[in-house]
Amino acid sequence: MGRTKAHVVGVGETKYARWGRIGDVSEHALACQAILRAVEDAGLTMDDVDGLASFAEDRNEAVFIAAELGLPALRFANMVWMPGGGGGCAAVGNAAMAVETGQAEVVVVYRSLCQGQFFRFGNAGRDAAAPPDPAPPTVQQANSLMLASLGFTMPYGLLMAAAAYALPTRRHMHLYGTTSEQLGTLALTFREHASRNPRAVMGGRPMTMDDYLASPMIADPHRLFDCCLESDGACAVVVTTAERARDLGKPPVEILASEQGAPKGYAFGPFSNANIPDDLYATGGCEEMAGRLWGKAGLGPGDVDVAQIYDHFTGCVLMQLEDFGFCKRGEGGPFIESGALAWKGGSLPTNTHGGSLSEAYIHGLNHVVEGVRSLRGESTSPVEGAEVCLVTSGACVASSAILLGRR
């Protein structure tokens, strides 16, 4: 008998807090808490779980999590290579492949981030206020491919993601006349969505266009409010077979399609690659992958009722809207300005939880959680009758995306 499509049957999270505000619970204890809540939400127990999946740079290794949570056996443990948040949806896709091929029956995808307990992304572990090393500056050994690649960015002070992704966004503004106010509209829209979400770190912090324009410049054109939050917290989603999903408590959400990857020569994207082909430089690098995703699902952008789009920076959302075909290339600014992304009256309600800009930055796995809730009718900004949700991970890095469906 052929296997059918995998489903997401459970979601869960810990409390979300500002960067460094969770100091008394370890990052991996948070991961365990999120996994337990997602499994409980699914109506399952840890005795049912036989697989764990995560994505790049996860410190919370599956073998330890499996032992601590008492999995009867760890049949599938998987981590996606794509950097940063680019692999979030890919991890869900890999979990789906595992259950669809019989490699495992119930796989939990998880992400936990407590940057305050480790080092802060964007400074590579450096302290800008530290006194200089007395030894004369010299070339040092790169111990990984990634560091050898960053060897051509770090001496120029390009360390922050906010600066790296300012580069394609600035070029987009140059080519198409995209404005700061258009980027600001996007930030305001997601903040408004967060206002109804009790989990959102910025839920009680309304924002006006004046607030946005007055926020400090970080890396031109990125102001503070163009940048995602830095958060402490964890979340998880449970993936299983269609057969198992049928008998569980919550409405099952089907994984209609998943895709991952990057175009030719993309490497680490604009973060370290100045030689992305000219016709792809001012994009999210997702266009080719988006075509594969639509093709696999037999759907198109017009079929999407609600979207959860990875929002590390406002400009990266804008470029994804173009890559996924919601508007033409270069028209992301006017599309946002039209109010398309708003829960109230928008043609494509997007980031109904508030996104990484206003709910929390959990490397975008919280977007998958919200995607599931939005199809279950559990979102705090519900889209009535929603049947198809696009969730994306990454953009301007090797990326991934899934289409979720409820029939």
């Binding site: 400074n123 590579a124 450096r126 800008a128 206020a129 530290a130 006194p131 200089p132 090393d133 004369p136 500056p137 010299t138 070339v139 040092q140 050994q141 790169a142 491919l145 560091l147 050898a148 690649s149 960053l150 060897g151 051509f152 960015t153 770090m154 001496p155 120029y156 002070g157 390009l158 360390l159 922050m160 906010a162 600066a163 300012a166 580069l167 394609p168 600035r170 070029r171 140059h174 400090p216 410049m217 970080i218 890396a219 031109d220 054109p221 990125h222 030719k264 020569g265 604009p270 370290s272 100045a274 030689n275 430089y281 001012a282």
Partner: protein, 145 residues
């Protein structure tokens, strides 16, 4: 020593065995790119195999040190102590390189005056006797193209 733009405490280059040769050329104030000896495709940063013809044979080709701003950002957060803010990180399209670009800084100009298309020339910053970093300033000498 050359004119200085950034403090000693800036992050040093990290190199593997392939990219070390690029930094050795830089120490001699030679701006080079890697060129495939089979198909003449150029690439940067240095890498072991040509992505076009998959040959492992390559040579270093010196470029004139001229270019223009492809895109840029003015960064308002310090990377190192004693740094002037904001500083400009740019993607520089390099003349005579077979269409390559590199990440660098634009120095010697008010960050507000930097714009896409601005003609640039290389200016070497000697960080120490062993380390020179190619940065760029608005062009003073005529271009080759």
């Amino acid at each position: 020593m050359s004119e200085r733009f950034f403090p000693d405490s800036m992050p040093p280059p990290l190199a593997d065995s392939i990219s070390l040769a690029w930094w050795r050329a830089a120490a001699e104030h030679r701006l080079v790119v890697q060129r495939c000896t089979e198909c003449e495709h150029t690439r940067h940063p240095p890498a072991p195999v040509c992505p076009e013809c998959r040959s492992s044979e390559s040579e270093w080709m010196e470029v004139p040190g001229l270019g223009e701003v492809y895109t840029y950002t003015a960064v308002h957060r310090p990377i190192a102590a004693g740094q002037t803010l904001p500083f400009v990180v740019a993607v520089v399209a390099l003349e005579g390189s077979g269409g390559l670009r590199m990440i660098s800084n634009v120095v010697g100009v008010d960050p507000d005056e930097v714009e896409i298309g601005m003609p640039l020339e290389v200016v070497w910053e000697d960080m120490s006797e062993e380390l020179a970093i190619p940065r760029f300033r608005p062009r003073r000498r005529p271009g080759t193209t």
